[in-house]
């Protein structure tokens, strides 16, 4: 029962660190927005605005208050889930973000599934066939999938599969004017819940290209980490022991080595969440996928400060929480992890 106790202790200490991290990130964002050269009012209005408008904007943003006061207000707002109001539409930022977040999450989940599947197959073939050429090809695959600019890959895939071959829609989440059910915003889930197979088909047709692009680019990291871990595991004594008992090679890989090699891959998966977001941002824009990245790009081009700030806060919270969740999950299922 000692392990259970130390596990709880670890979980609690990590959970305590979560709010500290979040506090630091939000403080950092606050400081960044304040110390950046140039007046935020300039950034929003451009430098041709007259004095009265500038003063009005200054009051509206609360830039008249003492700095410390502003900081407390900012923290208090975030604690209450209040991310301010958008400058252009005057809607609460929280509402705007929560409308586009499900689209991004749906795309990310689909991409991770595809990345895991492809990465698994490539990682396994690289390990099973030990000739140096397959090994090298696997290594090259890892480097090249990393080196391809995500938005460029997306454009090429659009050109090939949507424009030249015409198999799938070029972008967007649904054909324009499609009726959307009032629901969670996760269209696959919503269409299944309402039993609308037609809608489901449309949703999946639109999802295939962006999810495959993102999944393909991520699969390199998965296959590489799986291969490295499998190689490490295959050198261990218990594998030697299994071999000497005459167990077949594929059986050893699947039943003896793989379970042990998969866990570190999970850690890598956790670490890639951050880079997933980077790639996903750009791929969303290429495919006009109405997620958080489209929102970000729009906010940037309209210089809508509160939305940019809100998106950074929300994504950072997501990244930190997912990282924590995966760490805890690994600690929970893998007895070898020391903490």
């Amino acid at each position: 029962m000692n392990r259970a106790r130390s596990l709880t202790k670890y979980a609690i200490s990590r959970l305590i660190s979560l709010p500290i991290m979040l506090w630091l990130i939000s403080t950092l964002i606050f400081v960044l927005l304040r110390i950046a050269p140039g007046d935020p009012v300039d950034a929003i209005l451009g430098n041709r605005a007259d004095q009265v408008t500038r003063e009005a904007m200054r009051t509206k943003l609360g830039l008249d208050d003492p700095l410390f006061h502003q900081y407390l207000n900012f923290l208090n707002d975030i604690l209450h889930g209040n991310l301010g109001t958008a400058l252009n539409t005057q809607e609460p930022v929280r509402k705007i973000i929560s409308q586009s977040l499900p689209a991004s999450i749906e795309l990310a989940l689909a991409a991770i599934l595809i990345a895991g599947f492809i990465g698994f197959i490539i990682g396994l073939t690289g390990t099973a066939k030990k000739e140096s050429s397959t090994d090298f090809a696997g290594r090259l695959y890892g480097i090249v999938t990393y080196a391809i600019p995500p938005f460029w890959a997306a454009m090429l895939i659009q050109l090939i599969f949507a424009v030249i071959l015409g198999w799938l829609p070029i972008g967007g989440r649904l054909p324009a004017g499609t009726f959307i059910y009032d629901g969670s915003g996760f269209l696959i889930f919503d269409s299944i819940k309402n039993g609308d197979l037609n809608l489901l088909q449309q949703v999946i047709r639109h999802l295939i290209l962006p999810a495959s692009t993102l999944g393909l680019l991520l699969s390199g990291i998965f296959s590489r980490s799986l291969k490295i871990n499998l190689d490490k595991t295959l050198n261990m004594d218990y594998i030697e022991a299994a071999k000497s008992r005459g167990i077949s090679n594929s059986r050893i890989i699947f039943f003896h080595a793989l379970p042990n090699a998969l866990l570190p891959v999970l850690t890598i998966a956790g670490l890639t969440v951050a880079s997933l977001i980077g790639g996903a941002l750009l791929i969303e824009i290429t495919f006009s996928w109405p997620g958080i990245a489209m929102l970000l790009q729009e906010a940037i081009s309209q210089r809508d400060y509160p939305i940019v700030q809100g998106i950074v806060v929300v994504i950072s919270i997501l990244v930190v929480s997912i990282g924590l969740f995966i760490d805890l999950l690994i600690a929970f299922i893998d007895p070898r992890v020391s903490y």
């Binding site: 991290m21 630091l24 990130i25 950092l28 964002i29 960044l32 927005l33 950046a36 050269p37 140039g38 950034a43 290594r139 480097i143 090249v144 990393y146 080196a147 391809i148 600019p149 995500p150 938005f151 460029w152 454009m155 090429l156 659009q158 050109l159 949507a162 424009v163 030249i164 070029i170 951050a274 880079s275 977001i277 980077g278 941002l281 750009l282 824009i285 290429t286 970000l296 790009q297 940037i300 081009s301 940019v308 998106i311 950074v312 994504i315 950072s316 990244v319 930190v320 990282g323």
Partner: protein, 273 residues
């Protein structure tokens, strides 16, 4: 692998150096001029890679883009090294409260997704060569800091540092003379891998409209312009800048991978002897 990377990088450096000369002497058209040309003309003898929606030559713009990309990426990574390494040594050597505060700050920077962080910085600073370099530098500084700080903290308690202190060496002498030499070995690998990453992030910034001023040809923003033309099947504006970007990232990645193999071999040899 190292050799491939070096060859590729040499090609890019040569291109970056020669293109402005060729333009100056009239072998290549001006990258910003396009009024006399047909718009969106496919690759032909006159325009090997076709023209974009303003009639500008895609080839020249792609070639010219390599110069700014290399300059900005090297500037950003150099800045990150200049800031990250001394800060890491200082933090690791001093320890205590200062160390903890700097570490917390750097860890926080490290948690925020790379592209998002540089997008925020670039958004705040506005377009420009130096601004883009700063936006990238902020992202990579924590990585050097992490590596250097941890190694310094380890090396600090080694006997040779003790000995230096006993013979009366001051802290800055110790840091500069003994610790710096010990921790820099891991920097080249990180540096080239970061350079590879920086090319991608810079492209992302340009793609989002946060990169360079419009007067400077840049792969990322050219690709963003090309995006509008994709639905009608215009492939040449998208293909060539992308290939150029891919090549440069590959060059840095290959060098980084190659260096990593060498470093690992060296360590293996050292631990054997």
């Amino acid at each position: 692998m190292l050799r491939w990377g070096l060859y590729l990088l040499a090609i890019y450096l040569l291109t970056a150096f020669l293109t402005p000369l060729f333009i100056k002497f009239g072998f290549l058209p001006e990258p910003q001029e396009g009024l006399g040309n047909p718009i969106y003309s496919p690759p032909s003898i006159d325009h090997w890679c076709g023209t974009d929606r303003l009639g500008r030559d895609v080839c020249v713009r792609t070639l010219e883009g390599s110069r700014v990309a290399i300059i900005i990426v090297l500037l950003a990574v150099t800045l990150a090294v200049i800031i990250g390494i001394p800060l890491g040594i200082l933090s690791g050597y001093l320890g205590g409260m200062v160390d903890r505060v700097i570490v917390l700050f750097m860890e926080t920077l490290y948690t925020i997704p790379v592209l998002l962080l540089s997008v925020v910085i670039a958004f705040l600073l506005g377009r420009g060569i130096f601004n883009a370099a700063i936006a990238l530098c902020v992202v990579y500084t924590p990585q050097y800091f992490r590596v250097v700080r941890n190694q310094t903290a380890q090396a600090k308690s080694e006997l040779y540092v003790e000995a230096a202190r006993v013979i009366g060496a001051g802290p800055f002498w110790i840091m500069g003379k003994y610790l710096l030499r010990n921790v820099v070995s891991s920097v080249p690998v990180l540096l080239t891998l970061n350079a590879a990453d920086a090319v991608l992030v810079l492209g992302g910034l340009g793609f989002l409209g946060l990169g360079l001023p419009e007067t400077i040809p840049e792969w990322g923003s050219d690709l963003n312009l090309a995006l509008d033309a994709v639905p009608v099947g215009i492939w040449w504006t998208a293909l060539f800048p992308g290939i150029a970007m891919l090549g440069l990232v590959l060059a840095f990645s290959f060098i980084g991978e190659g260096l990593e193999i060498i470093v690992n071999l060296n360590e293996l040899n050292e631990s054997n002897t």
